[in-house]
Symmetry: C2
Subunit: 125 residues, 2 copies
């Protein structure tokens, strides 16, 4: 037993997705603009995952979810830090308050945020 390690690590998932699409290592390396060597290392996890923007183009080329892959890579998409800093105390507080919520609960909260957006349009104070 213990042969089937699901391995949701970035390198492993990347290799699976690349092979599933029928791209050779050299070809895909060229598509994303890195050396075949580097891509090999990344897939084997001998080196850290690439930068957030390269992870993004990889995910896009392979039709995968960018946020998910970015998280797997241990990175953050570029827009998030800016959102956090736009309300430097309130957004961190919110994030700490949502820690541990289920995906469903998070979606509920997202829906409520969208409601608030609409409210903000009409009545100003």
């Amino acid at each position: 037993m213990s042969k089937r390690k699901p391995d949701r690590s970035f390198g492993h998932v990347l290799r699976e997705a690349r092979v599933a699409k029928g791209f050779s290592l050299r070809k895909f390396a060229q598509m994303i603009g890195v050396s075949p060597t580097y891509l090999s290392q990344v897939e084997q996890e001998n080196v850290d995952p690439p930068t957030a923007d390269r992870v993004q183009t990889m995910a896009e080329l392979l039709g995968e979810n960018v946020d998910e892959w970015t998280a797997l890579a241990g990175r953050l998409t570029e827009d998030l830090p800016d959102i956090i800093r736009s309300s430097p105390t309130e957004v961190p507080d919110l994030l700490r308050a949502v820690r541990g919520l289920t995906p469903e609960q998070l979606r509920t909260l997202t829906a409520q945020a969208e409601q608030l957006q609409k409210q903000g349009k009409s009545r100003e104070k």
Copy 2:
């Protein structure tokens, strides 16, 4: 006119706060464990702000808000990326949904998140 530039930049705010507390540059540098040289550079903004954890100890020693200072420094506190990655698609979605909300609205949402936390305690599924 245009003499009073509020200057909410990290270096400027740091210097104000340090001087207000009556610490000399050399003394405060020693308190936080950096060279006086470096602290001087930081306050003048000749170099980038320090790492998130050093910003944190600075803010704490000066009695200032850590999240606010971290944002000023263009950094993120260490706990936030982990929270985001704990639900890699839902939390980014939430963040994008709250972009542009007022601080009051954000606090409302935080309160709702806390409600959800309580709900989660009792009824599972």
